[in-house]
Amino acid sequence: MKRKLMLLLTCLFVGIGLVTAQTQRVTGNVTSEEDGLPVVGASVLVKGTTVGTITDIDGNFTLSSVPTSAKVLQVSYIGMQSQEVAIKPSVKVILKSDAKALDEVVVTALGISREKKSLGYSVSEVKGDELLKSRGGVSNPVNALQGKVAGLQIAGGSGNMGGSSKVLIRGVSSLSGNNQPLFIVDGVPIEGSDYNSADTQRGAGGYDYGNLIQDINPDDIESLSVLKGANASALYGSRASNGVIMITTKKGKKGEGYGVTFSSSVGFEVVNKLPQMQRLYGGGYGSTFEQVSINGKVYNYPDYATDESWGPKYEGQSVLSWYDLAKWEAGGQVGDPTTSIWQAPKHDIEDFFETGVSFANSISVTQATDRASVRLSYTNTDLKGYMPNSSMKKNVFNISASTVSADKKLEVFTNLTYFNSAAKGRSETGYADNNVMQKFVQWGHRELDMTELKDMYIMPDGTQATWNRSGWDDPTPAYSNNPYWSRYKNYQNDTRNRVYGNVGASYQITNYLKAQYKVNLDFFVDKQFERNAVYSQEQSKYKEISRQQYELNNEFMLMFNKSFGDYSVTANAGANLMKSNYEYVLGETVGGLAIADFYNLKNSVSSPTSANIRKKRATNSLFGNVSVGWKSMMYLEGSLRNDWSSTLPDGNNSYIYPSVTGSFIFSELLKEDFEWLSFGKIRLGYAEVGNDTDPYRIIDTYTQYTNVDSSTPGYIMSTELKNTGLKPERTYSYEAGLEMNFLNNRLGFEATYYYAKTKNQIIPLSVSGSTGYLTRIINAGLIENKGIELAFHATPLKLADFEWNTSLTVASNKNKVKELLDGVDYYRLASAPFKVEVGARVNEAYGVIMGTNFVYDEKGNKVIDEEGNYAATNGNEKLGSIYPDFTGGWTNTFKYKNLDLSVLLDFSKGGKYFSTSYMWGMYSGMLEESAANNIREDGIILDGVQEDGSKNTVKISGQTYGESHYSGPAAQNVFKSDYIKLREINVGYSFPMNKSAFIKSLRLSAYGRNLAVWGPDTKHFDPESIVTGSGNVQGIEGAALPGIASFGFNVSVKF
């Protein structure tokens, strides 16, 4: 591969010719038609020669030796229409902007705008408007990219207010570390991960506070570039090894005058995907009720102390319900309690959820003059969630300003965002007592009516009333809170205040050399407040967590930009110092709360506990890159970076890595002969990226465990064995691409093939406890990713008033764990709370579900044991892979005059998930299948063979069958994650406006998102909505929140 690149390099330099003739001197100035500002760096070329230059900071150029024979100058600049002008000693050129060409300019690493055609790697750009089309209040802005970029996988836990989205570019390369791409806003690296605990990610409880990337305001985004491969991101160092999402914010533009833009949207959220529950049998066990006698009258009393639904069939029996008892008790037990009818609930779990409503309003003002520009914006979003008692508010302020000195050499600039959010009533996730989905699907009674639960969740004396009574005369909750108690009394809230942005200055030393110094900051304080009220099933508690983090990047760069004849050279050299500091402080009451409904740490029955964690890291870097272009036809680019990381041991903490790419726009050679070929390019790239690890993985430590002897704190060893000999990780990647457009760009495609391998991965390897530890930090493994990305676009119809565009993206990533460590062939990522674990096995795809499987005989029949249940394997086997084989999206947009419509479908094929909800929902007789096909009345004979090979004839009861989903093989609860989703429909109308009128533009639009999902196993869950974290632990469903459809309306006005 390297050799081929060298060949290409040599080719590039062949054909340098020297021109000697009579010459003249030509000077000139290039300005832009749109804003009248000088165009800096425009290319000026004497037609038919290699003589040329680029314009300086004032738009001036000088050509000192133009052959007198030359007649025409070609002036071109990216994003503008090229012009040919007659040669005169002094030339004035005004360039018009080129809407078509603009599309081809993309923002690349270090914030440098480049012509897309010049790049030797894959970049996809999405305009900011795309992110606004279906913003739906406060949802994670990243979710708006779903299905729009080939090779970008986004799984959003759609049901969770402000919840996490898993973002992946080209699959997983790191076994345990971060696989999320690096998000950069105007050069500022933004913390984008989440703080969800390992338990939350594996579906074992806790709140999903969402990944922090959602703090980016879509209203301020001008464009978003997805830099996919290591080549694209080599300049950002190790954190960019999973790709970079570069966000460029809107800036003040000259010529717009005092521009005011106002946009407003209203959005609605409704639950459209809930597990299918049975409606034939109520709670308890068995077909009869307990007889309870009050005041001499005998009542049927349902078995409320049991939180399962194997109880009596609904036959209109008269019962003494929990609601009857609660009302009777609230009234002082006067007279006889009322009775109720034993029947399927009139208001079932779907009635628990409300319609979420969100409002988003955004206003921006811009102004630009010759020497300064400024843009101010404010966005406010306000959401009432679909869960009772949930809300989220966000305020974002942004200022972007720059000013240049009179000689236009010194520029000072800043871009700052202040973000503030306050949320209340996020849902607990996973197997948790206050996650209502766990109570609705996994453990509970099926006859419960939501209006009754809502009516009586709190008694007049402030205590709780719940259906899950310990006895008819004992209202103490046995296992379950009333779901409304969970929502209204045991709620959490949280706030985040965040500032990110930069301040910098640049100095134009000569017209081709510029120095720039910039300080980038990302700082936030995040506070979480969690409550468990007095009279809850669990002990009352109040907990406060405060997190504070800053990351500071000091960056110095020298930038060089000059043409030498046909050659244009862009080069950068720089240094970066990264420092980050994370602090976590926890306070928690102990022994319960002394005073009900008073939430302060001092209100602790025993002394409250506290804990704090501090994490620091620093990376020093030097980097540089050179890009050489020839005749806008061939480009070669190379980069080199050296990092020194604090997280690696002395001696191993410095690592250097190069990248090189080349591209050849072959259509330039062919365009005269093949008119149908509008554009054609091939590109090749090779890159290495080094990577460090988390702090504190070198030296063994002890953990404080107890203060049982108050004079002597008790410690235990960390169960993780650290490693003093850690080496940096290294990824080697190759990429090749082909882009072609035909018939005046009416039809085209882009194809990319890539191969990447990562060596020396730093992972906490799970080991058998019998080794004395649970994990060991090792350098291990060779993990391989290869894949293709395809993007097609076409304009099948283009009439005067009507246009139809269609585009399809498909990406497939194959990933293989080639090696872990000598003699080690399995790496565990996490285990689900009850059954199965997710891990990586050598020579298989990353992320396999491991659990007990069905036992199959030689003919592939499932073996049934003597009792009639599925037999299970002794140990764990592979039950499926968690990642899809391919993903994609299909967008169709239609324009008729000022009316436009777009429809996006996206899809995912392959991959499995394990459902803890299905396991318990079957075990407890709640899910539809636990009462379908008369299995409760007739029993069921499982399809399979007995150990002797004979067909199974042993009948088991419906309940035994349901319970076997827990006691039997885990494989019974594994499902396919395939889906096709009607992701987005947008329809909009732009009113034709007079440019000089007060209102310059007005647009109305409506959207719908996540409107429908289809797939083989989507009966109970949306496979996408099982996500409860942005980390690597995926594929484990645990009381997932319901699927949500959202729709709404937008208005956008420009004054």
């Binding site: 066990y285 049991t306 002990q539 002890y702 953990t703 235990i716 019998s770 004395g772 764990n876």
Partner: protein, 556 residues
């Protein structure tokens, strides 16, 4: 001017960068967790975590306390019926081994030249080493008696690159534990403290650690009495070196009543607010001196109520029957106070509220075993007396001393005075001193020490009152005359395990599935050695010499 600006700009930028440069190695020093701790602090944390994991509502509550039928679950009876939770089994196996590693580290801190001097500030080196070895032997014995053959000789050597420790034969491990205890007892210098502070078992008293080593040696020797001819020699050695002499020598772990340092049984009941367990019928009947008429089993001192009955169960349950009588199983109970245990080993669906409403509500009554500072028993003087009684061919003196010590110990724990008629009780239960009575009194004493009680059942087959699979747990009414309330039809609910146990009380816990992925080859080799080559519950321990023709080897 321009040049000055530009020079200034570059110089300022570079100096800013240089001044921001950090010492990377300093940045990476973990300020959250120390890399060195004094040995007594490590011992203190390790002791506590071991107790937290062995004496809790999972390893004890849902395993050996229900296997030995002291407790039964009130709602979900799966574990009572031998359906264990994989995740719990995985986690306890792993955690107990990391605690072995912690004990090894205590030894290392007292052995390595670089740390031994510092460690000596917190107790004599050889005494600390001995205490760690003794506790390690105790913990390993619990683990071997739970799973059988487990990793031992190759365990805890990850630093040397040993990722897959092989499983050692349980018998070989036992022999080494005896040796460990002998050596540990021998190296203790009783004139010096073991730990200056932090030791919540013996408060650093090295003489007591020594007695514990020898007493534990007696216990392990007795376990092997049917398979190791040296067992009497071991006990003789231990007696010569010095064993428990009174209840004040008991090996108990002392929890604190200061939150959150309390006992895990308390934590499970009151912090997690789970009223999951109560006293089971077989144990209740043993305490009441009631023969099992359902399964025709006699009681050696029928009609004699145990003085520990109220202490263990929190007192009788008051039944409030609105219409003057309430139906529990196949009997009507009038308003009053009762000692009725819940049926053991029936399906959750059969565990109706009627059974729960008459069984002790230990959550509400909070007997001493559910107090926040309940000292969990590793081994008591009473147990040692029963061991010696058996060693001496079921001698009466030690048997009586054991019964007396046990009642005194439990009374003291409950804050009650010793029953005035204790001597009468001792006389009543001493009419016959034999394998059965010694085993039965030991069983009563071992309440809350489920690991050992379960061993003793498997070794001796006593108490015979414990239910075996298929035996009747309770009789319920299935048809009642609606007018006269007369029971027209009744049937028996039996103890019905959910896993194959070959007709006996569970013989071992399955190896965790965890091991099949993280230590696969060793796991497979160990499974292959089990009966039928499957990872099952019925493979007998090497010291379990019972056969169908000889179910009670303790008689021989």
């Amino acid at each position: 001017m321009r040049k000055i600006i530009y020079k200034f700009f570059i110089v300022a930028a570079l100096s800013f960068i240089v001044s921001s440069c950090e010492d990377l190695q300093v940045t990476n020093v973990d300020g959250n967790n120390p890399d060195e701790v004094p040995s007594h602090m490590l011992m203190s944390g390790t002791e506590k975590k071991i107790m937290d994991y062995v004496y809790d509502n999972w390893f004890s509550g849902r395993q050996c306390l229900v296997y030995s039928q002291y407790w039964a679950q009130r709602n979900y009876t799966e574990e009572d019926r031998y359906q264990i939770r994989e995740s719990v089994n995985n986690s306890y196996f792993n955690v107990l081994y990391t605690l072995i590693a912690d004990l090894n580290q205590v030894i290392k801190l007292n052995t390595d030249e670089s740390t031994a001097n510092v460690s000596a500030l917190y107790g004599a080196n050889q005494n600390q080493i001995a205490a760690a070895r003794i506790l390690k032997a105790w913990l390993y014995s619990v683990m071997v008696d739970t799973w059988g053959s487990i990793p031992y000789s190759e365990a805890g050597q990850l630093k040397d690159g040993l990722y897959y420790p092989k499983y050692d034969d349980a018998k070989v491990i036992y022999a080494d534990l005896i040796k460990e205890l002998t050596e540990a007892a021998a190296m203790i210098d009783v004139s010096q403290k073991a730990f200056t502070s932090g030791d919540m078992i013996f408060s650093g008293n090295s003489a007591k650690w020594k007695k514990f080593a020898n007493s534990l040696k007696c216990r392990l020797a007795l376990h092997t009495s049917k398979v190791d001819t040296n067992w009497k020699t071991y006990i003789a050695e231990a007696l010569a070196s010095g064993v428990f002499e009174s209840n004040s020598d008991n090996a108990l772990y002392h929890y604190s009543s200061t939150a959150p340092e309390y006992c895990m049984f308390y934590e499970g009941f009151y912090i997690e607010a789970r009223n999951d367990f109560t006293v089971s019928r077989p144990f209740m009947d043993i305490l009441k001196g009631q023969a099992d008429t359902l399964n025709v089993k006699s009681h050696p001192w029928e009609g004699v109520e145990d003085p520990r009955l109220a202490i263990y169960t929190g007192g009788p349950r008051t039944v409030k029957a609105d219409n003057d009588s309430t139906l529990v199983g196949n009997k009507y109970y009038k308003n009053g106070s009762y000692y009725i245990g819940v049926p053991y080993g029936i399906a959750s669906s059969n565990m109706t509220s009627a059974f729960r409403n008459i069984a002790p509500n230990i959550y509400a009554a909070q007997p001493v075993v559910l107090k926040d500072n309940f000292p969990v028993p590793l081994m008591t003087y009473a147990e040692l007396m029963f061991i010696i009684s058996e060693y001496k061919g079921f001698s009466e003196a030690e048997y009586k001393a054991g019964v007396k010590a046990s009642v005194e110990y439990w009374s003291d724990l409950a804050g009650e005075s010793v029953p005035s008629d204790l001597d009468d009780y001792v006389t009543e239960v001493s009419k016959n001193v034999n394998a059965e009575t010694v085993a039965l009194q030991k069983y009563i004493d071992l309440y809350m020490n489920g690991t050992e009680a379960w061993v003793e059942y498997r070794r001796t087959g006593y108490p015979t009152q414990l239910l075996k699979p298929g035996q009747k747990s309770v009789i319920i009414a299935t048809k009642i005359d609606p007018v006269t309330k007369k029971i027209l039809e009744e049937s028996a609910l039996t103890f019905s395990p959910l896993s194959e146990v070959k007709g006996d009380i569970i013989s071992r816990v399955k190896y965790p599935t965890n091991e099949s992925t993280l230590n696969g080859e060793s796991f497979n080799a160990a499974v292959a050695k089990l009966t039928d080559g499957t990872n099952n519950y019925y493979t007998k321990m090497f010291w379990d010499a019972r056969t169908t023709t000889n179910p009670h080897p303790a008689n021989k």
